[in-house]
Symmetry: C2
Subunit: 199 residues, 2 copies
């Protein structure tokens, strides 16, 4: 991807996050970079192709953050805390991007929506697999794996709606608290006291 | 409020939920009712006054649902399950309204925003009070009351983003699962097995 395309995408994230995708135009995006309205077209043929590029990048990045935080060989308890923290932090630290890619999905063309939905399912499956592993090893006592996975992803996604607040403006503090909550949601029998705080 | 104003408000909820507030116009709302563009003005002087009326109605209704579900004289455990269920159900059953009133707050004028923020704080405080009561009576063992209250409200609000899904299309089923999760989040020592499912 060219530098110009990257600049346009970064500007589009801000414009979409502030105005909402439906109310934003490629003209607004060009104007925010002091470009002429036609300057976006060689890079992105439509506003929707820009949203798709941003969504692909955002959901790939969220999935990578979660996968990278799933330490090989660790217990389900440590893995859950680590991945939940990473997911929450991702939504806090990339708030504008997260808001666009989580809340504007309905504006994607059907085939683009499908591609993004597959990425999102992959992220959910990381949590689901950890919870399933924990239930299998009897380390967790999850009542409803589907609902618990949904609730954990919901907690992360919703961060991009409100973050920061007066009380929570530090991603690590929030990530730590939600990591603790996730242990309780799955009925973890052993507390991951040994896990260091993220730095 | 007149019948005409109520019809306009109902139409506006749909238009705002589908297009987003920023992209919607009072002209769109009038057109959805086969009215002339000027027909909205005698009832609502601006698009923002319509959003405020909808937000006031929506957040008042959510608060009432939660308060009504807080049974007098019951244990914190029963109260938490009952109020969480009511809050989740409210967001599932009033999805369009919930989406508008939870996600379009930033478009309110400052004094209107303040009035709505106060209502939202009142709703959070119902959960916070129950959790505090449960910790005081030693029925709960909540680690962080603020973060837990935030997470519980987040779970409810986020329902309006995605509901219904292929797996969850029944508000009661979802409300039941999230009620169980809330017990775990607060570290409830006694399970509210006696609480009947909502009908």
């Amino acid at each position: 991807m060219s530098k110009a395309a990257a600049r346009i995408r970064t500007a589009a994230i801000s414009v979409f996050a502030v105005k909402g995708y439906a109310a934003a135009s490629t003209r607004d995006i060009a104007a925010s970079l002091s470009l002429s309205p036609g300057a976006v077209y060689p890079h992105y043929k439509s506003k929707e192709s820009l949203l798709f590029a941003i969504s692909l990048e955002g959901h790939t990045s969220a999935l990578a953050a979660v996968k990278q935080a799933d330490p090989a060989g660790e217990s389900p308890s440590v893995r859950l805390t680590s991945t939940v923290r990473a997911y929450v932090k991702w939504h806090a630290q990339n708030r504008d991007l997260a808001r666009v890619v989580q809340y504007e999905l309905r504006s994607l063309a059907p085939d683009h929506f499908e591609a993004i939905a597959a990425l999102r399912r992959s992220t959910s499956r990381v949590f689901e697999q950890i919870i399933t592993d924990g239930n299998t090893s009897n380390e967790f006592n999850t009542i409803d794996i589907g609902a618990t996975t949904l609730a954990i992803t919901s907690l992360g996604i919703d961060v991009s709606r409100w973050f920061p607040s007066q009380t929570y403006s530090d991603p690590d503090t929030l990530a730590h608290a939600y990591g603790e909550l996730s242990q309780r949601m799955v009925g973890a029998r052993r507390r991951p006291d040994s896990l260091p705080d993220p730095t």
